[in-house]
Amino acid sequence: MIDPPFTLAVAESFLQPMGPVAAEQLRHLKFVTLLTMIAVVPVLVATPLILWRYRRSKPTGKYRPNWESNRVLESLMWGVPILVVTLMGVSLWNMTFRLDPYKELGKDPLQIHVIGLDWKWIFIYPDEGVALVDELVVPEGRAVELTLTTDTVMQSLRISAIVGQIYAMPAMTTKLNFLAARQGEATGMNTQFTGNGFWKQKFQVFSVSREEYEARMKKVQANDLALTADTYALLAVQGTAEEAKKSLNIEDRKGPIEMVLGDSKIFQRVLARYMVEDMTPESQPGSPSYDPTKSPLPAAQEKPMMDMKM
């Protein structure tokens, strides 16, 4: 197989995969490119050759003004693309099922709930009872399952080096399964345009050893800042995570915002809010008139309102 077409400078993306999903995507990209070449290369080669052979100024081929069909040629013209598409269709079908973002990549994946806000992500670890803003820490080699929603407009979460993207939409959840095969750092981002701070909506993903992971979780669990409906409402104000630190009065703390999970049902409560009340410009995060004091979260409902997977 060939290398990626250009390697002048290296950004973090699936061209340098950190996990099995991205690696398979890269492999599939090369396969698709090569297979399509069967149909594309003849055009690239034939165009200059035909133009040269039949140029009016000095032609070397016979003039056949009424030649308009040829059965063999015709069947090649239809046959080759049909063959290529059939082959690719089979591979497309298999790969789509193999890399289904809903498919768990190991037993008992680490569950993480994700809430997209303008312009930051909250990662909730329900089992550990902690939450991180704009930082995702996962143990190396363990399957992870993200369950996503947003509390503003539609967003799309992608960690290119590890896994592709999935939309996060208000009032419903989507899932993204992945696994980081080696230790390292990757950038995740929102790819769906969400307004002025869109380009800053990035987060760091750390794939660390199991011990480091445990240690980090312990450290966060000792934190004095709790994610409750009140602090959540402040986080929901438009702005980056750094700007949110000001309203949370933790400007002096370095690194990402770390919180213990004050309200274990906060994710479910965010999901529920769109089903039981009419949103107003004051209560809707993302609206220019959003006011954190006038945006109460309702009680959690029994089950998530709508799961995209049908």
Binding site: A9, A11, S13, V32, M37, A39, V40, P42, V43, L44, T47, I50, Y54, R55, R56, P59, G61, K62, Y63, R64, P65, W67, E68, S69, N70, M77, P81, V85, G89, L92, W93, T96, T152, V153, M154, R158, V163, G164, Q165, I166, M169, P170, A171, T174, K175, F193, N196, F198, W199, K202, Y274, M275, E277, M279, P281, Q284, G286, S287, P288, M308
Partner: protein, 692 residues
Amino acid sequence: MFEALFGRLTWDSIILVQEFEDPNLNTFITAGAAAMIPLGGALVVALLFWMKWWKPLFEWLTSVDHKKIGTMYIIFAVIMLFRGVVEGILMRVNQAVALNGGFLSSDHFNQLFTTHGTNMIFFVAMPFLIGLINIVVPLQIGARDVAFPKLNQISLGLTAVGGFLIMISLLVGEFSTGGWTGYPSFTGRLINPGVGPDYYILSIGISGIGSTLTGVNFAVTIYKMRTAGMSFMRMPLFTWTALCTSILLIFAMPPLTACCLMLGLDRYLDFHFFTNDMGGNLMNFINLFWMFGHPEVYILILPAFGVMSEIAATFSGKRLYGYVGLVAATMCIAVLSFMVWLHHFFTMGQSTTVNAAFGIATLLIAIPTGVKIYDWLATLWGGRVRFTTPMLYLCGFFVLFAIGGLSGVILANPTLDYQLHNSLFLVAHFHNVIIPGTLFGVLAGIYYWFPKIYGFRLLDGYSRITAFFWAFGFILTFLPLYQVGMMGMTRRTVAYEDPALVPWMVVSGIGSLFLGLAFTFVLLTLWRSVVNRKKLMVPLGDPWDGRTLEWWTPAPTPEWNFAVLPKVDGRDAFTEAKAKGTAYRPIEKYEDIEMPANTYYGLIIAALGSGLGFGLVWYMWWLAVICFLGCIVTVITYAFLPERKKTIPAAEVREIDEAWRRAARESRGVTRDDECNEANQGLARPDIITNP
């Protein structure tokens, strides 16, 4: 009182005022753009007075002649293209220097990509193609006009309303920042209470109705107005693609109208179609939008394919290879285009089976598209290829479109779309099919048919340079975007933080300047050609040794197109007549020709539609109500007014037609060697073909 009169329009809404209140680079750019509207308007008015062009202007604006309406579509498209290109350059140059922030503010940049997309799709590409279809189709099928000439004028008027709204948003208020796709809830009332999304909904909604009517008009024209002997399988390929485009317009525009209506109800009347809350569902908008959006892609590309077919045959002096295959492929594409809309959102989380099925349906489109390209190549095989400007565009198209097809096939794989969706790879892909496909097709078509309608050729040298700049600029601007897209850069970012992206973005920014140069050369070509038109005249009407009916008339084509409607008994009717020597035979009998007279109908509807749109955007309810009622009254009034026709007496038709035929019989014509010389008077002398 003020509020009742002006709604939410205040003094501060006017962009030029903002420049005085808060002078900086961004307001300077917007104010400069805004100032162009009154200044440009004043210049045009002054020119009209100076040259005493009022009368001809109204002659044009009230005309129902399909050639004039087509021309107005194209002029409109060129004006909008100017804006689109400038916006594109601003964005590309900004991104070239946008490591951690460029010179454009986020808000300005967001409006730029929204207007650029909306403008280029709805007010450049579509009017260009509809303009060409207007000009060419009635001539190709041997008709004197379209089926519903007044309706044609109204379609143009409604398109102009959309253009007016998007232009006036430069001067008053702001346009949407939600991208040309305008997904809610970002464009919903709660998140975006301003006028931007309203401008967006109304401009594409109103012009969309015009496009639907165009589709109806041309489908009926092609079904019902073909001349004797012009059976379906004898129609020129461009007419076939126009028919498919019309069918797509008829069935694909309603979803757009519907989703604009629903978003409008959400925004104006607090409905809950696409809101976050109370059972609203933004996924419905996305589905509806792409049920329109995907066929739209083929509305844009099919007529360009048609132009390529005509050019391939004419400029290689040969029959079109695989006519039946090309027709079948066109129809396949048209039908399949309705079955793939979901590939625009593989990443929404729906079931894997759905994704895989739509992915494979998308791959299927690659088959007929591939066949078409092979057919055109086979058309050149065995021909005598002349490297004229249209042929240059065709060659560029072959090579570049193949790359666009490759990236399309890549994106059709849901697996890969999970990575590449929303990235600059996608942006590169659709520019790669729209510029070498649609734009090259349109420019080649304009060069090809220009002498037919206006009587003189475009200057050859300038046109070649233009073609070169478009291709070169395109390669430089968009091929790097494939790479940065794979490196993870998303679309619609005003700035980025990864230094590895810089070199690619700089190349792309420089490329965009070449695209600007290419646009300048379009205007330059036009201007120099008009100045030198005496030397470029082709009054006998057949400068390229054409094969189809449209070349069988003088140039410029008279208002009535054909003095006597031609009879057709084969595919390349004109070529056969020329071979038999019967093309310019005298005609015995001429009859009076009845043509529809000029009317103010379309102009009135356009004015009232603009008022309606503007009134709705700014909550000036009185204006909206008056204009809406005005539209109804206009329609009813015209239903009662007697239908005015003008009759061209047989004697006048005879005089003009006989003079043309006599001149053609007496002229020696030129061989294809002198095609681009002054000697070319529009009569083709049989070529001497030597075989090696």
